[in-house]
């Protein structure tokens, strides 16, 4: 078995009933899972040590995802911890081993898709990820009207939504964060319309319900799926972790898969 890598990036999905948990809940579920797996995760210093984990942009409670990421840091000398629990038959690399160990402790709906070793040059997920792909199934409006509203929105350079910040109402312009927006006919859930969008995380992340409010306040989200998270290098979008590790690969269009 290979030496245990110091830092790993894991990609996982969050689908089905587990989507009703919040980002904080997910952090706790993963922390408990890591303790059950006995993987030697590094701990923070101080009065109440926490495992050193870093998540990507928070997924809104109720939304599903095909591409969530988490960075793990292993304790120095963690190799001994692995050796005690490793399956000598497996003969696979450390990243795959960790992925399997974590998967075995995850609740239904969480699927560990891939894992790759971090070199340390990547920066944090929060810095690295610049855009997310979304598939939204909505109700509240007929197909024709929705197409028209989407078209109108794209023609404007201001899309204002109200939001409360520190107890004060403020208006935010979402338009700079809306990279692409399409109405794609009916959704897989009966009675819904399907919207696909690429939303930039800069200057600020736009939540799906905010986008819908920006299109038309009568829209209601029935099902929302984050289908991808990407970084941008020289104008091209890349997944922060390809199935082959951290080899950069052009982004592929991932559709919302039916359940």
């Amino acid at each position: 078995m290979d030496r245990v890598p110091e830092r790993l990036r894991i990609r996982y999905t969050k689908r089905g009933r587990i989507r009703y948990t919040s980002q904080r809940d997910m952090a706790r579920i993963i922390e408990r899972g890591l303790r059950r797996s006995r993987l030697p995760i590094a701990q923070s210093q101080g009065f109440s040590p926490r495992p050193l984990l870093a998540f990507s942009l928070a997924l809104p409670t109720g939304c599903e995802s095909l591409a969530e990421y988490i960075d793990l840091r292993f304790a120095e000398g963690g190799g001994a911890g692995f050796a005690a629990i490793a399956d000598p038959e497996a003969g696979s690399d450390g990243a795959a081993y960790v992925a399997r160990a974590l998967q075995s402790t995850m609740p239904e709906g969480i699927e560990v898709v891939s894992a790759g070793v971090l070199t340390g040059a990547e920066g944090s997920l929060q810095e690295q990820v610049t855009s997310c792909d979304w598939v939204l199934e909505v109700i509240g409006m007929g197909a024709d009207q929705l197409s028209e509203r989407v078209g109108t929105l794209l023609e404007h350079d201001q899309v204002l939504v109200e939001r409360v910040r520190k107890g004060r109402k403020a208006e935010d312009n979402l338009r700079p964060s809306i990279v692409t927006l399409f109405h794609r006919g009916s959704g897989s859930t009966p009675g819904t319309q399907r919207i696909e969008a690429v939303l930039s995380t800069k200057p600020r992340g736009v939540r799906p319900v905010e986008l819908l409010e920006g299109i038309d306040p009568s829209l209601r989200l029935v099902r929302g799926t984050r289908t991808g998270q990407y970084e941008t290098v020289d104008g091209e979008r890349y997944e922060p972790l390809s199935p082959l590790g951290l080899v950069r690969a052009p982004a592929v269009a991932v559709g919302a898969q039916g359940r």
Binding site: R17, Y20, S22, D25, R32, R35, G62, L221
Partner: protein, 645 residues
């Protein structure tokens, strides 16, 4: 089998904490339902976060699902937002596992741990589409039963429950399963409600209110008539004598969202014989029955590996008294697998320096706050309630806590106790002041919080006859105490809403006529009354009025010891003589020792179980038996000792 999930799913985007309603916990089961299987819906009448950790329900969940002729799922009270949507859309109460409608279960079994949840019970039965009153239910309606500490006076819910169960549920739950199976096997018209009630009343420990008719004279209940000769005239509680035979829960539920007591819980003993006279839990759960230390260690270790929790609570009414406490703590703390990351918590700390030492040993990392419960502000008051902690015991414990790194100490007190004088209430501020002073020896800033609750004289305790302080009197005492405590920087007073203590007294001390009041409060929208922002005593007062009843008759009226009490026919094993003698000794400021380490004073708990004096462990707990009256210099003006009875 039907599921409401498809109807429910679109609503979940618009409610708070939707994960409350989707199940999926580690340890959750989806048992098969079908012919020959009695299906149970185990219900907690408050939110998911409060109800999920309930150990009683989790134990029954596993025991039932291990049976081939039973299947159990769970439900909790939906929060206001979802309830409104459910009523709008016609979605009935459902189980969190398979989302089966509640009315498709044979039995809906509630845990009752707090009186102010009673209106939620009615709301949940109604939301299930089932008639709330027993008399309106037919042969195809679910059996509505309840267990838990509140059922030692189930009369206020007597109109709504098919049956109330007294005591430990481990064994009786299977007997109830068989009784319900026998009833379900009957053909109509034999399968009547009365037939159900007769079958249930044959099970020891099960009380069927509809078989009894209370007789009143003005505000007082003067008797109880049985509807037939075969109806038992007295119901004895059930007790499991060997906890070692019941290592449950084996698969504690690990929820997806944060809940109260979110940690591994392992029960180390049941019962308590310290004899605090205000404490209903201590009176109704006698005698003390310990779990073998080796089993505790195994349950802790297995539980940690299975759940991934990094905290385990060793639960009981007074964990420091567990005879195996040192070996268990050592085993958990020293286990290499836990890598020094598992913390042990003792939810009920004894007030002495030794216990603090134990707490220090196991809380190497987080030393945030420690909690003690002296309960009474003066030594006189504590003699009355038989919580025999001297001022010096408390100061030594607090000194130990501050000297070993803690900076926050919380003290629990009751006010409105029998024979209480203003000086006893002000004594709380004085104890607090001294504790702050002790803390300042070690730290620049310390916080001492005195948390004050209004005393509710509970059924089946020596104070069951005692007049409760009125809400106004409790409020006066709180104000007086706050003014006094204000003089000490670093001392904070927190208090329980006195009006809630009044409502609790109505629900816990009332007779069956409270049923109309509970139903009225519920119909006026009074649910989630445990939640301060929704509690409204006005609703209870108006409902009492409409029912032609007076609040004072239930709360502040002194009852004589020969008065019929609404719960007289329900037995926690205690002799009435014992309770009377304890009440008189309390007023005479006379303490009584813990019978684990002193001769029996015949409270009745053991003999009613057909046992001689049952001693869980003859070994006094590590560090001595502080607070139980042992080793107290008898030259202090109090006489302590085993009573000749």
């Amino acid at each position: 089998m039907t599921s409401v999930f498809e109807q429910l799913e679109p609503l979940l985007f618009s409610v708070e904490k939707p994960a409350r309603y989707v199940g999926g916990e580690l340890g959750s089961q989806e048992p098969e339902h079908g012919p020959g299987i009695v299906s149970w819906l185990l219900a907690y009448p408050d939110t998911y976060e409060i109800g999920l950790p309930n150990q009683g329900l989790q134990i029954l969940y596993e025991i039932l699902n291990e049976r081939s002729d039973a299947a159990a799922e769970r439900t909790y009270a939906p929060w206001h937002d979802l309830e409104k949507l459910m009523r709008d859309e016609g979605i009935p109460l459902f189980s969190v596992e398979s989302h089966k409608p509640a009315h498709e279960f044979h039995v809906i079994a509630f845990n009752l741990s707090a009186e102010l949840t009673y209106t939620n019970l009615l709301n949940m039965v109604d939301l299930a589409g089932i008639a709330v009153r027993t008399e309106d239910r037919g042969p195809n309606d679910a059996v509505i039963i309840a267990g838990g500490h509140c059922t030692y006076n189930p009369e206020p819910l007597g109109d709504f429950l098919d049956a109330a169960v007294l005591g430990d549920g481990e064994e009786v739950v299977s007997e109830i399963n068989e009784a319900v199976a026998a009833w379900l096997a009957l053909e109509e018209p034999q399968r009547s409600r009365r037939a159900l009630h007769r079958l249930l009343s044959d099970v020891e420990g099960v009380y069927v209110p509809s078989l009894y008719q209370p007789v009143y004279e003005g505000p007082i209940q003067i008797g109880l008539e049985r509807v037939a000769d075969w109806v038992p005239d007295r119901i004895e509680k059930r007790s499991v004598m060997d906890l070692g035979e019941w290592p449950y829960p084996k698969q504690q539920l690990v929820p997806l969202i944060e809940v109260v007591h979110d940690r591994l819980n392992v029960e180390v003993f049941r019962g308590c014989t310290r004899g605090c006279r205000f404490c209903q839990a201590g009176m109704i759960t006698r005698p003390v029955r310990e779990r073998p230390a080796e089993q505790v260690i195994e349950m802790v270790q297995r539980g940690i590996e299975r759940t991934g929790y990094d905290e385990v609570a060793l639960t009981s009414l007074s964990t420091a008294d567990f005879s195996g406490i040192e070996s268990v703590v050592a085993a958990v703390v020293d286990n290499e697998c836990n890598a020094g990351r598992v913390s042990v918590s003792l939810p009920s700390l004894r007030v002495d320096a030794f216990t603090v030492g134990t707490a220090a040993k196991i809380q190497q990392v987080k030393r945030t706050g420690l909690t003690f419960a002296p309960e009474g502000g003066t030594w006189r008051m504590r003699r009355v309630i038989n919580k025999l902690i001297t001022d010096d015991d408390l100061y030594a414990a607090v000194d130990a806590a501050f000297s070993q790194g803690w900076r926050r100490v919380k003290l629990y007190f009751l006010i409105g106790l029998p024979s209480e004088r203003d000086e006893d209430v002000l004594g709380i501020a004085e104890l607090g002041r001294r504790c702050v002073e002790i803390g300042r020896k070690y730290h620049q800033t310390v916080t001492v919080t005195a948390s004050v609750g209004g005393f509710v004289p509970k059924p089946q305790t020596p104070f069951q006859w005692h007049a409760q302080d009125s809400g106004e009197e409790l409020q006066r005492k709180i104000s007086m105490l706050r003014a006094k405590a204000h003089e000490t920087r670093g001392l904070t007073i927190r208090w329980h809403e006195p009006r809630a203590s009044v409502a609790e007294a109505l629900m816990s001390r009332g007779d069956r006529r409270m049923g109309a009041v509970i139903e009225d409060v519920w119909r006026q929208g009074g649910i989630f009354q445990e939640w301060g922002e929704f509690f409204d005593l006005g609703r209870f007062e108006a409902a009492m009025d409409r029912a032609g009843l007076k609040v004072e008759d239930v709360t502040t009226r002194q009852r004589s010891v020969d008065e019929v009490l609404p719960w007289d026919h329900l037995s926690a094993g205690l002799h009435k003589d014992f309770l009377v003698a304890e009440y008189q000794d309390a007023l005479g400021e006379l303490g009584v020792e813990d019978c684990r380490w002193t001769p029996c004073y015949d409270c009745g708990a053991c003999t009613s179980l057909g046992l001689e004096h049952h001693v869980a462990s003859t070994v006094p707990p590590a560090g001595g038996s502080q607070g139980t009256g042992q080793g107290i210099d008898l030259s202090v003006p109090v006489s302590v000792g085993a009573k000749p009875n």
